[in-house]
C-alpha cells in the first residue's frame, strides 16, 4: 500500500510539472536523457553493448551458435530475441518465467532488427536445410528508470554492429564478420496531460496514459511500431509521434551507431 501512495504522489508531481511546461531534471519535452553506448564489453559474447539512458541501464549480449534452420526457411539463419527483467533491476521485477512486459520488450526489439532486415539471414546459411547460424540476442536489464525499449533496441543494434561469427569454435572456415544492412532505432514517446514526452523516465511512464514506440531505419522508413498503455491517441498525435520518432532516431543513429 505504501508504494502505491508514493506512486500516486509521484504521478501528481510529474503531471503538475508537465502542465507547467516542465519535466524532471529540467529536460525539454523532446529531449533525451544523456545516452551512452559502450560496445564489446563482454569477452565471451560474439557481440555486446551496454546502453545507459539517464539512470536506465541495459546490457545486451549476442551469442552465435550452430543450429538447424526452420523448415519453411531452409536457406536462412535464425534470430532469437529474449529479454529478462531480473529482480536486481527494480523493486517491481520478480524472478520467474517471463511476464507480458518482458515478452513485449523482447518482441519489440526483435521486430526492429528483423523487419529492418539489418541482418542478412541468407548469409547465416552454411548448408541449406541442415546447418545455419542462430543469432541469440539477449537483453539483460540492470537498472530500470524507464524507457527500457529504446535502451534495449539501441543495445541490440550496437552489439550486432560488431558481431563476430565464431567459425573456429565449430571447425569451420568462413567470413568472421557480418556487416549490418541497416540500423533500426526505436524512439518511445509517452503522452502525459495531452503532451508528448520523448524518452519517458520511470515516473513519467507511470503518469502516462499511453506510450508509442516508433522504430525507423536509416532511410527514414518505418520498420515497427507498438502502442502500449491504457489510454487512447488521436490521429494527429500518432502522426506527430511518428515524425518526432523518425527525427530523433536519425540523431541517435548519427551519434551512437557509427562504425567503430
Amino acid at each position: 500500500m505504501g508504494l502505491e501512495i508514493i506512486a500516486d504522489i509521484r504521478k501528481d508531481y510529474v503531471c503538475n510539472l508537465v502542465r507547467g511546461g516542465k519535466r524532471e531534471e529540467g529536460r525539454g519535452f523532446r529531449e533525451y536523457r544523456e545516452i551512452s553506448v559502450e560496445r564489446d564489453i563482454i569477452k565471451r559474447a560474439e557481440g555486446s553493448a551496454r546502453v545507459k539512458i539517464g539512470d536506465t541501464e541495459v546490457l545486451v549480449g549476442v551469442k552465435v551458435e550452430l543450429g538447424e534452420p526452420f523448415s519453411d526457411t531452409p536457406d536462412k539463419g535464425v534470430i532469437i530475441t529474449n529479454a529478462e527483467l531480473v529482480p536486481l533491476a527494480s523493486p517491481e521485477f520478480e524472478s520467474g518465467p517471463p511476464n507480458e512486459n518482458s515478452v513485449q520488450l523482447a518482441r519489440v526489439v526483435d521486430r526492429g532488427i528483423r523487419e529492418s532486415k539489418a541482418i542478412d539471414l541468407k548469409k547465416l546459411c552454411i548448408e541449406e536445410g541442415e546447418k545455419v547460424w542462430i543469432v541469440f540476442i539477449d537483453v539483460h536489464v540492470l537498472d530500470n528508470d524507464g524507457n527500457l525499449v529504446d535502451a534495449a533496441a539501441l543495445g541490440a543494434i550496437a552489439a550486432l554492429l560488431n558481431i563476430r561469427i565464431p567459425n573456429e569454435r565449430y571447425g569451420l572456415t568462413g567470413e568472421n564478420t557480418l556487416p549490418m544492412r541497416d540500423t533500426p532505432v526505436a524512439v518511445t514517446m509517452a503522452e502525459v496531460e495531452g503532451n508528448i514526452l520523448v524518452d519517458p523516465n520511470f515516473n513519467e511512464e507511470n503518469a502516462a496514459t499511453s506510450r508509442l514506440t516508433v522504430i525507423s531505419n536509416a532511410d527514414g522508413s518505418l520498420s515497427g511500431m507498438q502502442k502500449s498503455g491504457s489510454g487512447g491517441l488521436k490521429e494527429e498525435e500518432v502522426v506527430e509521434m511518428v515524425e518526432i520518432g523518425i527525427e530523433k532516431a536519425r540523431e541517435i543513429r548519427e551519434k551512437y551507431l557509427s562504425p567503430l
Binding site: 523487419e115 522508413s221 488521436k234
Partner: protein
C-alpha cells in the same frame, strides 16, 4: 516473415480474392452463442472464425492481484491447435502473450472499471480458424461480447489491419497477402471519437504510406463499428419482442 514480393498479389488492379484495395472481407456476427458465459459473440471475417466470451464482473483471483480502486481486465487470446496449417502447440506462446496484452489495453479506455473495485472482468477469445487479422477479429468479437455481458462501457471498440502488398497500401490482409506482403499494421479504435486504442506495425512503410494506411484503417473501423452496432440492435430488439410476446 516479410520477404517482399515473391509472388504477385495484385493482378489487373484486383487482389487475389477479387477485392479492391480498400475493401473489407465479408463479416458475419452472431451474439449470445454460448450459454454459460455472461456474454458471447461468434464472428467471421473472411476465413477467420473467432469466438469470444466474457465472464464477470466476478471476484478477482488471485486476490493479491486485486485493485482496490477498479476492476482488473483479463484478456486471453488463444489459437486452437487446428486453426492454422502447421498445428499450433496448445497454450500461450510469446506471440499470444503480446497480443493478449495489446488487446486488453485496447479496451482499457472504454470499460468503466471504477464501477467494480476488486473485481475481474474476463475476456476469452478463441481463434477456431485463422487467415490473418486474427487479433483484430478477436477485438471486434470481444467488444460485442462485452456489450452482450452488460459490462458498462463508454463505447464499442472496432479493429482492423492495413498492410502493404506489391507496393500498395491495402485494407484487411488475407493470410497469403500477409505472408508475402511487405507490411502489416493492425489498429483498434473508438469509432465515435476517433481515438486509437491499439496500434502495432511491422514490415516496411514510408512515412507517407503510414499516414495513408492509418486513414484507411480508421475509415474501415467506422464501417466495422456500424456492423457491430447493427448486430447488437438486431439482437436486443428481437429479445424485446420475445419478452413482449411472453407477456401477451
Amino acid at each position: 516473415m516479410k520477404e517482399g514480393t515473391e509472388r504477385k498479389l495484385i493482378i489487373d488492379g484486383k487482389r487475389l480474392d477479387g477485392r479492391g484495395f480498400e475493401e473489407l472481407r465479408p463479416i458475419k456476427i452472431e451474439i449470445g452463442v454460448l450459454k454459460r458465459a455472461d456474454g458471447s459473440c461468434y464472428l467471421e471475417v473472411g476465413d477467420n472464425k473467432v469466438i469470444a466470451a466474457v465472464y464477470g464482473p466476478r471476484e478477482m483471483h488471485p486476490r493479491h492481484a486485486q485493485d482496490a480502486k477498479m476492476a482488473v481486465i483479463k484478456y486471453r487470446y488463444n489459437m486452437a491447435p487446428f486453426s492454422v496449417d502447421d498445428r499450433k502447440r496448445p497454450g500461450p506462446d510469446r506471440r499470444s502473450v503480446e497480443i493478449s496484452k495489446v488487446s486488453r489495453e485496447a479496451f482499457d479506455p472504454v470499460i468503466m472499471k471504477e464501477y467494480y473495485p476488486k473485481m475481474a472482468i474476463e475476456v476469452y477469445v478463441e481463434m477456431l480458424q485463422s487467415d490473418a487479422g486474427t487479433r483484430t477479429a478477436g477485438i471486434n468479437a470481444a467488444s460485442i461480447a462485452l456489450a452482450d455481458a452488460g459490462i458498462p462501457m463508454t463505447d464499442l471498440v472496432s479493429s482492423i489491419a492495413v498492410g502493404k502488398i506489391d507496393g500498395e497500401v491495402v485494407l484487411d490482409l488475407t493470410g497469403v497477402e500477409d505472408n508475402n506482403g511487405e507490411a502489416d499494421m493492425p489498429i483498434a479504435m473508438i469509432a465515435r471519437t476517433n481515438t486509437i486504442t491499439a496500434l502495432q506495425m511491422d514490415g516496411h512503410l514510408t512515412k507517407e504510406e503510414f499516414k495513408r494506411g492509418l486513414k484507411l484503417a480508421m475509415g474501415a473501423c467506422h464501417q466495422i463499428y456500424e456492423l457491430q452496432r447493427a448486430a447488437l440492435i438486431e439482437r436486443y430488439s428481437k429479445s424485446e419482442e420475445r419478452e413482449e410476446k411472453k407477456r401477451d
